[in-house]
């Protein structure tokens, strides 16, 4: 990007209502923010990383025990937690039809891990865990409809 263009951009942002303007061209990233009243040119290698889905579940899947799956949800005791659907839609265990499921029974999960997607209209909602623990049971089949507040997963709390 040539310096004249950069100066022009700074001027436009300064005189406009835009509070922050970023532009990325190839290797170069320019972020102009009014709060600092100056342009920062940041090397992309340090600053810009292609987003990586942070939903990788910590790989404790090898600890799978089959007995856990047999416990009915009704027996949820104090250290059990249910993850419920916040929306009406269709439940998917994987991000795409040919992808691996986000989680399996027996997986250890942390707060913020993505557990599933519920699709409603053209909205894909990722459901993140609001707790840490171990997946004891998946209560809904892949591709089936779910209602508001319907329990989806049973988690044994850490």
């Amino acid at each position: 990007m040539d310096i004249t263009l950069l100066k022009k951009l700074i001027k436009v942002v300064e005189t406009s209502n835009i509070t922050e303007f970023s532009v990325q061209e190839g290797d170069l990233k320019v972020r102009i923010s009014k709060n600092t009243k100056s342009a920062q040119i940041i090397s992309p290698s340090a600053n810009y990383q292609m987003p990586v889905v942070s939903s990788k579940v910590e790989s404790a899947a090898n600890e799978q025990t089959k007995t856990e799956a047999a416990k009915p949800a009704a027996e949820a005791s104090e250290n059990m937690h249910e993850i419920k659907s916040p929306i009406v839609g269709t439940f998917y265990r994987a991000p795409a039809p040919d992808a691996d499921p986000y989680i399996q029974v027996g997986d250890s999960i942390s707060e913020g891990n993505v557990l599933c997607i519920v699709e409603a209209m053209k909205l894909m909602n990722e459901i993140e865990s609001d707790t840490s623990g171990k997946i004891v049971k998946i209560l809904v089949d892949d591709g089936t409809p779910v209602e508001y507040n319907q329990p989806l997963f049973l988690i044994k709390l850490d």
Partner: protein, 256 residues
């Protein structure tokens, strides 16, 4: 490159687009906003001249020629009740429809849930992605793709595509279209929060499939019936001989 001055002159929003990220290329603008931690302001807009993995529903893609169209995503971080997601979904298509009508007097139809059509051809597509923790929607990204100056389309399409240029017969100022879109989006978003029923009402006025015999394809299953209504959360109500069903998703078409 987008002419920032031209875009700014017409932008009349308080929040939407006031933080603006312009990319030459990315995988998808939805992914960019969804995964980056750098941009977290409510109303941040990311526009990319090219998306290497533009997304449609499920595993479908959104193809768009470099520099000719508008592919952007809007980040919403305001406290959003989950029951409003469907309304915002419909509202996004309404914002596109209003924009195309205001600027180019095009006769725009909406197809459930949020396809924007002109003469039964698709001019814009919308895909929303959100994340929730417990019952709280943490972030919502509204992805909008509008075919603007592209005139040739290659590939297989469920609905044949068109563009603003093809319909209006002139090269379009993307800057003007973008600012008008964001102006309309902000206005409609406000109505989504304040008076969601109005969105349903406006949306229904622009859908000519209500009352018609339709087919809904959900994954591998087809359902037939009359498109009787949209409920207060935006779901399609399908009436068949023996039952009334609430449809969450699927490809809707008129029954031939």
């Amino acid at each position: 490159m987008l002419k920032l001055e031209e875009f700014n002159i017409k932008l009349d929003t308080d929040l939407i687009g006031r933080s603006f990220v312009y990319l030459e290329e990315c995988d998808s603008t939805n992914n960019f906003l969804f995964n980056t931690k750098d941009y977290n302001h409510h109303g941040t807009v990311v526009l990319s001249e090219y998306q290497s993995k533009g997304k449609g529903r499920k595993d479908r893609t959104w193809e768009s020629s470099k520099g000719q169209n508008l592919t952007l995503s809007i980040l919403l971080r305001k406290d959003i009740k989950s029951k409003l997601l469907g309304i915002i979904n419909l509202g996004a298509s309404l914002a596109v429809a209003q924009t195309l009508e205001n600027l180019y007097q095009l006769d725009v139809e909406l197809k459930w849930p949020n396809d924007v059509l002109i003469k039964r051809k698709k001019i814009a597509g919308i895909l929303l992605e959100s994340s929730s923790k417990g019952s709280k929607i943490e972030k919502l990204v509204v992805g909008i793709g509008i075919n603007v100056n592209q005139v040739g389309f290659q590939g297989k399409f469920i609905i044949p595509p068109t563009s603003v240029k093809k319909e209006f017969h002139e090269t379009i100022s993307r800057e003007r279209l973008l600012s008008e879109l964001l102006n309309n989006f902000e206005e409609i978003l406000k109505i989504c929060f304040d008076n969601p029923n109005k969105i349903i009402e406006y949306w229904k006025e622009r859908c000519d499939m209500i009352g018609e015999h339709i087919k809904v394809v959900e994954n591998d299953e087809s359902k037939f019936g009359i498109f009787s209504n949209i409920d207060d959360e935006g779901y399609l109500i399908l009436k068949s001989k023996d039952k009334t069903e609430r449809i969450h998703f699927g490809d809707v078409s008129l029954r031939q």
